[in-house]
């Protein structure tokens, strides 16, 4: 219904977005309403809300005093509650059951780990949830196996049939197949994992076209070869931009307004300082990268802010390495928990955020990409 823009008063705006000042009208109204505290926040928004969300109630809910800020500009807290001991226990049980079931349980075990890690992650007082199933993972695995198993068997056959000359050719074919699948696996794993992750009942999702990412990946690989690796930071930034800008929560897409070329300077500095600092300058580049990437990542009108520094990353890293060395690697669940805690503690989201109005999107993705990623070693890192 055409009306005047509430911000700049442009006449007859029929779209959600005002053509003159660019403001998203429903969101602006929600923010305005909350700011004034005059009218209930849930009336004039894009999606009909079933009943008054407790976020908008005038007084803070008594059962969670102070856990969630009432005004829109306050940063929303992220927290990770997981414990290394529990994670280790989950893994131990998984290994035992996997041995007993000849490996079949491993898929269900993977689900247990993912579910634990997400269930222990909290944003604005609510925990995330994981919805994948072991059956899905098994089917994905079998599909990928259908392709890779013949490649393996052909090599064995080549040796046993007395034609080992064919072996190098087949290995080349297998290597190429793995390489071809790397970008497909990166996108596929992300699509699957996000579609199985929810917060407050709303699923995340990824809508990037696989083909677009494959093109980006291979073009970048070519440029990296041509520039002797100096294209790497640009590739990484462009890859991140693609992956984040096609990710969504419910129906709303994340935004990214960073410049890929901005990463070149810090990277060059890290490379130049790598020798005198024994490679530790990499940590400062990684910290810069995380700050920059997150600082240019938006959701609606809110913006992420990452406060990681090279020094803090170094502190985390030194303790992690010591833990692993002293326990012969047994401490890795604790390392994983420390990393997640660190990542969450250094991340905040700031600005107006009308979460209650976000509607469910379409959850559609199968686990083939996820299985593929475990074959070609292209992971979807949790908490990174």
């Amino acid at each position: 219904m055409p009306e005047n823009c509430p911000k700049c008063d442009a006449p007859d705006v029929s779209d959600e977005k005002c053509p003159r000042c660019g403001v998203i009208i429903p969101l602006y109204k929600v923010a305005l309403a909350k700011f004034r505290r005059a009218i209930p926040a849930d009336t004039p928004v894009a999606m009909p809300v079933m009943s008054p969300p407790d976020d908008a109630s005038p007084a803070p809910a008594p059962e969670s005093p102070g856990s969630r800020a009432a005004g829109p500009p306050a940063p929303r807290a992220l927290a990770f509650h997981g414990r290394g001991g529990t994670l280790l226990g989950i893994h131990l049980v998984n290994v035992l059951l996997s041995i007993v079931t000849l490996g079949i349980f491993a898929f269900w075990g993977k689900v247990r780990v993912r579910r634990y890690l997400l269930s222990q992650s909290e944003f604005a007082g609510d925990r995330f949830a994981y919805h994948g199933t072991g059956g899905e993972l098994l089917v994905g695995f079998l599909k990928v196996m259908l392709f890779f198993l013949p490649l393996t068997l052909l090599q064995v056959a080549a040796v046993l049939s007395g034609t080992p000359q064919a072996l190098p050719v087949m290995q080349l074919v297998a290597s190429l197949a793995v390489a071809v699948f790397v970008p497909i696996a990166i996108v596929g794993a992300r699509r699957y994992r996000l579609s199985r992750t929810s917060w407050r009942g709303i699923r995340f999702g990824f809508d990037g076209a696989t083909w677009a990412y494959v093109k980006l990946f291979w073009l970048s690989t070519l440029l990296m070869v041509l520039t002797l690796g100096f294209y790497y930071p640009i590739y990484h930034a462009r890859s991140y931009a693609f992956l984040i800008a096609h990710s969504r929560f419910g129906t709303r897409v994340f935004g990214y307004d960073g410049q890929a070329r901005a990463a070149f300077g810090p990277y060059l500095l890290a490379v130049l300082l790598a020798l005198p600092t024994l490679g530790l300058s990499t940590l400062w580049y990684v910290a810069w990268r995380r700050r920059y990437y997150w600082g240019h990542t938006t959701f609606e009108r809110a913006r992420f802010r990452c406060t990681v520094t090279g020094g803090r990353l170094l502190g985390l890293w030194v303790v992690n390495v010591l833990l692993l060395l002293l326990t012969l690697g047994l401490a890795w669940p604790w390392v994983r928990v420390r990393n997640a805690r660190f990542a969450f503690a250094t991340l905040a989201i700031e600005g107006p955020l009308a979460l209650d109005t976000i509607a469910q999107g379409s959850p559609a993705a199968d686990a083939t990409g996820d299985a593929l990623s475990s074959f070609v070693g292209a992971g979807f890192e949790f908490g990174a």
Binding site: V49, S51, S119
Partner: protein, 373 residues
């Protein structure tokens, strides 16, 4: 039990404060506006709340709705309502579950040790018996092709003939064998020899040049021939592959399986024998030497030379049992009364063997050296 919780309708990210109550065969959810929804227990799945500090999350079958209750008393009431079917997680059982986890840890450790120490070796030993010699031969050819490409083989024809003579004499003493034995000398300066499946034996330049006598070399060859006859290499390969597959299965990470596929020849070449296999080959090699009428003093001397030996020799011995123990075991096999032995090679043939790799040149040790695998 009445508890406060939150209801998610799965359509928007808004959450609604509700009161929840366990009533006999279901739970009642009372909304702020007063209306009540009943979820039958049979339609409820618990997806969170297994671990301490985690609120209970219930999802209704076939829909996106979820209910969050952060109240241990509710969890207990729900578990009781679920009854013996253990539909819902009971927080009172956490202690017991932790104990079970510790037991599982002990179980994992025991299973891993048993599998590594007995399970996999026993299974690969069994499986190796069923591998046809023709397959072993082709597998061995592939390994030799990889470790000793024709360009790196020692060219001396007289030396090769002498090597073949020693081999033939030893193999004849072993009786009828299912393999055709071939010895290949490789121009790599390490004191080493190895047996690939199917009768392929590789000796390296360093071994030829630094063996004190033809008898010492014959001792090493007898040892390698017994590795082949006992199918140690085939077993080692099966063991390696099945360990990789087992680890992959347990870890649920398929990249290991692909690694095996990609490694191809290098995996085929990964043959580290166990101490037990080495001792077996030592013993049987000694028997073979004696029945071929070769003086075993050379073989014993070769292993005895460990003290003060050049580094390369130490390296050869380091993959084998401690040499003092080894020499003791070999001496125990010596016949009580002195015997007469037939020399293995004459001076001229031995010189041909020692020089069969041609004059020394700058080696590229990285290319085929077995240590670099």
């Amino acid at each position: 039990v009445t508890a406060r919780g939150h209801y998610l309708d799965g359509r928007t990210a808004a959450r609604q404060a509700v009161t929840v109550q366990v009533v006999g065969a279901g739970i009642d959810i009372v909304f702020g506006d007063g209306h009540t929804a009943r979820w039958p227990l049979g339609e409820i799945r618990q997806t969170q709340g297994r671990y301490a500090g985690e609120p209970v999350r219930l999802e209704r079958a076939g829909g996106p709705e979820a209910l969050l209750v952060d109240d241990p008393a509710f969890a207990v009431a729900l578990a009781d309502a679920g009854g013996h079917a253990r539909r819902f997680h009971d927080p009172r059982r956490r202690r017991r579950r932790m104990l079970l986890t510790v037991l599982a840890a002990a179980g994992v450790l025991a299973a891993a040790v048993a599998l590594h120490a007995w399970g996999i070796p026993a299974l690969s030993g069994l499986a190796a018996r069923w591998v046809p010699p023709a397959w072993e031969d082709r597998l061995g050819s592939a390994i030799v092709e990889h470790l000793a490409p024709p360009g790196r083989r020692c060219p001396g024809a007289t030396g090769q003939a002498a090597l073949d003579r020693i081999t033939e004499r030893l193999v004849r003493a072993a009786g009828p064998v299912p393999y055709r034995f071939r010895v290949v000398a490789v121009d790599v300066d390490v004191v080493n020899a190895l047996a690939a499946p199917g009768g392929h034996v590789i000796v390296f330049r360093g071994l030829l040049e630094r063996s004190a006598s033809p008898e010492a070399l014959a001792g090493v060859l007898a040892h390698e021939i017994q590795h082949v006859l006992y199918r140690h290499a085939t077993r080692a390969i099966l063991q390696h592959a099945s360990t990789a597959i087992a680890l992959t299965a347990v870890a649920g990470d398929a990249s290991g399986a692909i690694g095996v596929a990609l490694d191809g020849a290098s995996v085929l070449g990964a043959m580290a024998y166990s101490r037990a296999h080495e001792a077996e080959a030592d013993r049987a090699g000694m028997t073979l030497l004696l029945s071929a009428g070769v003086d075993p003093a050379g073989m014993i001397g070769f292993f005895d030379a460990r003290d003060g030996a050049p580094p390369a020799l130490v390296r050869y011995l380091s993959t084998h049992p401690p040499s003092a123990e080894r020499v003791r075991a070999l001496r125990a096999l010596l016949p009580p009364e002195p015997r007469t032995f037939v020399p293995v090679l004459d001076e001229e043939a031995w010189a041909a063997v020692k020089g069969m790799c041609g004059p020394r040149r700058a080696y590229d040790r990285r290319a085929v050296s077995p240590e670099s695998r």
